[in-house]
């Protein structure tokens, strides 16, 4: 089990893909929040969060994602989730987040759904 969170980002179409890897708990959530805030502040309106390699998430991690989703919706942007691991999926379902986030199998599907929407 990893003790830390690694974050990587790259552009795909008009979306910014942010990959979280490792552990997103109360220790890591301030960094994750800062990273997403900075991207939104820099003008990125469409985020795809790749959780395929996220091993663990607690309510502190969910809080960061809900705050980013609410902010982006207000600014007519979007935030979707790609590639969610089974343990993280279990936490999403328990919180009811599977009903408020758009969740795709992988980054390709999430980015494709985004670009199709604007056509």
């Amino acid at each position: 089990m990893s003790d830390t969170l690694a974050m990587n980002e790259h552009e795909a179409g008009d979306a910014m893909v942010v990959a979280f890897r490792g552990r997103l708990d109360a220790t890591a959530s301030p960094d994750a929040e800062e990273r997403l805030s900075r991207l939104i502040g820099d003008g990125h309106r469409h985020l795809v969060i790749d959780l395929g390699d996220l091993e663990y998430i607690s309510s502190s991690g969910l809080r960061v994602m809900l705050a980013a989703l609410k902010r982006l919706k207000q600014e007519e942007g979007s935030l979707s989730i790609a590639g969610i691991s089974p343990g993280v999926w279990q936490v999403f379902v328990m919180a009811g987040f599977d009903r408020i986030f758009e969740i795709f199998d992988d980054e390709t599907a999430a980015v494709e759904a985004r670009s199709t929407r604007d056509r």
Partner: protein, 146 residues
């Protein structure tokens, strides 16, 4: 079997507390669902303490993990403000996005993932015990059933 360890009451200690619980439950042979549930419940309880309880910096967070044939119990002692998880309001997990409030999920997870919560406060110490009954393992499907 019971194991106790102390940690500084700080955010940075949370991954170590999770690893301690995971190791305790793994070595006792508990199944994956029980490990998942108790690791998350304990992390949420300790997160509440270090973020909202204001325990003195020089105090310790004492965590005891006990595994019996029927149940797993984890006792957490801290010197922060009194906080009984039974008193916290629960979030509406069915609310749509505009009505969804940020926060409150930690206590909801603790209550959902455990079967019983015991709480007491005495002489400046919070004493919280999270108890989960061990679930029998579902046998894998037999030949021709899967």
């Amino acid at each position: 079997m019971s194991t106790t360890r102390t940690f500084p009451p700080r955010r940075e200690a949370l991954p170590r507390i999770s690893r301690f619980i995971d190791e305790c439950l793994t070595s006792a042979g508990t199944d994956e669902d029980d490990r998942f549930a108790m690791t998350l419940a304990v992390d949420e309880a300790c997160t509440n303490i270090v973020l909202h309880g204001g325990p003195p910096e020089e105090s310790t967070l004492r965590v005891s993990c006990r595994v019996d044939p029927q149940a797993i119990s984890v006792a957490i002692e801290d010197r922060g403000r009194p906080f009984d998880p039974h008193d916290a309001p629960l979030p509406d997990t069915d609310a749509d996005l505009p009505h969804r409030r940020i926060g409150g999920l930690g206590v909801y997870f603790i209550r959902t993932l455990t079967d019983r919560i015991e709480y007491g406060y005495r002489d400046g110490t919070n004493w919280l015990v999270l108890i989960r009954h061990r679930r029998p393992l579902t046998p894998p499907p037999g030949p021709g059933e899967g």
